[in-house]
Amino acid sequence: MAQYIILIYGDESAYASYTPEQFGASMQAHHAFTENVVQQGGKILSGEALELTHSATSVRGDVVTDGPFVETKEALGGYYVVEATDLDHALALAKLCPAPDGGVEVRPIMDTSGG
């Protein structure tokens, strides 16, 4: 098994204007996702939703600036760290991950245990 991070990107303006019903549906979709991952033979090691990017603060050296490190229309909004057998398995899990306002990026997590 290997570990991958699924980074969830989306248009924040859409997310910011969610109604309570939409927010509830989104939570439910994520709950269903965690169950689907197990069904597909994967495992979620961790996962969090992030506050919107206007709450972000960036630090480069000693300089502190308001806002995300990289300004993009589709911002990082949350992540999961999953365990999967290989990239195909990880991509199959990623396809199940809810990301209605954008999409997800799958990155292998470096195995530093041997070095």
């Binding site: 290997a2 057998t85 290989d86 990239l87 195909d88 991509l91 799958v106 292998p108 470096m110 245990s113 041997g114 070095g115």
Partner: protein, 414 residues
């Protein structure tokens, strides 16, 4: 060339993919497998001079490469204390099998699907396929795609690193993924062929080497996946196109259109093989993109002259092709057959309907087709403008020369 040199060159062309593929299983890494395959060929040069060419050169090389891979892994295990894991044992494999006995599984399909994995960029898929499946060197690939050697080397290295780091699996995709994954493989092979067939920028129209590699690959895939009709369709398409290779340029290397090609010089045995394959590829419901393209090529190949071509049949095939593959380029080719069936006016209307498509904005054949239809309608001024537009977009020297010739011709009429 010496007997050994000849046998090695032959083995390199025919067995390279088999040797690499056999080593991947043991090495757990395509990069290491490739190095082991290279070492096996070097060892063969000495070994075969001494002991003679073995009865099964491919098997000899695969065993040699695999043994090197096993040694390498053992060394790296003792060095780093961990084993690269890429290959999950398949359900149909016997437990504890392959490592020491000499039965080498044919992993070439796995190798092809790994090289053409959708997680790799198209350029990387093409470069990896040429390196790992066809055995071309990085300088050769760089030359074929008119990029610098360092650029191509970096592309290949990045792709190999991604396969290892992201754990792109070494396996043929399961049945439910096969259509999509196979489409990617066929697209790569077709791209090799079209790149060779209409070398986009070079001074000659055809890079024969690339075309032959593509045909070899299509043959290999057809042998390994005899039930896949689209593979058969692709092989047919390549053969039917390649059968006209000698007539696509004249003695000076200038472009000769299908209309003016000397059909007596088309390669008949190749056409016959292509036609047989088309018939098989079309059998059954809903033929795919490559089967239909091959069918169109077959109708052209059967026609005694351009004028006597069965244009209604061609138009019907294009209509079907547009349904399975709604590409503006197909639409443009369909417009040409509309002109042949219903006259240049109707053809021009069909072309103009496509002109809005932004995907065709920088496509020289749109302007060139318009120019030709306008020329046939006697609207020479507009034709001249369209030829000039096509010239601005065309990159290939032979095609440019053709367009300049046509432009001068219509200008004389104004």
């Amino acid at each position: 060339m010496s007997e050994v040199g000849q046998a090695l060159a032959e083995a390199h062309r025919r067995e390279w993919a088999f040797v690499v593929a056999a080593a991947v299983r043991a090495a757990g890494d395509v990069g290491i497998a490739e190095e082991c395959a290279q070492e096996a060929f070097v060892a063969a040069l000495q070994g075969w001079e001494r002991d003679g060419v073995p009865r099964n050169p491919g098997g000899w090389l695969a065993t040699a490469a695999r043994r090197r891979a096993i040694d390498q892994v053992r060394r790296s295990v003792s060095l780093r204390g961990k084993l690269p894991l890429l290959i999950e044992p398949e359900a149909d494999e016997e437990p504890g099998g392959s490592e020491e006995d000499d039965v080498i599984p044919d992993d070439r399909l796995r190798l092809v699907f790994t090289c053409c994995h959708p997680a790799l960029a198209r350029e990387a898929q093409v470069a990896l396929t040429l390196r790992l499946v066809c055995g071309l060197t990085t300088p050769q690939i760089a030359r074929l795609f008119l990029t610098s050697e360092p650029t191509m080397a970096a592309r290949v290295t990045r792709a190999k690193k991604k396969i290892a780091a992201a754990r792109i699996p070494y396996r043929t995709p399961p049945q439910h993924e096969l259509p999509d994954r196979l489409a990617a493989v066929l697209t790569v092979v077709h791209l090799l062929y079209t790149t060779g067939h209409t070398a986009a920028d070079g001074d000659t129209l055809v890079r024969a080497d690339l075309v032959e590699r593509a045909v070899d690959l299509a043959r290999l895939l057809n042998a390994l996946m005899p039930d896949e009709r689209e593979v058969r369709g692709l092989l047919a398409l390549l053969l039917l196109g390649d059968a006209r290779r000698a007539t696509r340029t004249d003695a000076d290397g200038s472009l000769v259109l299908l209309e003016h090609q000397d059909r007596s010089r088309w390669d008949r045995p190749m056409i016959d093989e292509g036609r047989r394959l088309v018939v098989e590829a079309l059998r059954g419901p809903r033929p795919g993109r490559f089967a239909l393209q091959a069918a169109i090529a077959a109708v052209h190949a059967e026609a005694p002259t351009y004028a006597a071509t069965d244009w209604p049949e061609i138009l019907g095939l294009y209509d079907e092709l547009l349904r399975v593959w709604p590409s503006p380029v197909v639409g443009l080719n369909r417009a040409v057959s509309v002109a042949m069936v219903d006259g240049p006016d109707a053809g021009l209307a069909a072309v103009d309907a496509l002109a809005e498509d932004p995907r065709l904005a920088s496509y020289p054949y749109l302007a060139a087709t318009r120019a030709d239809l306008l020329r046939r309608l006697g609207r020479v001024k507009e034709a001249a403008g369209a030829y000039q537009e096509a010239l601005l977009l065309a990159g290939n020297a032979a095609e440019r020369q053709f367009l300049v010739g046509r432009l001068q011709e219509v200008k004389r009429c104004t």
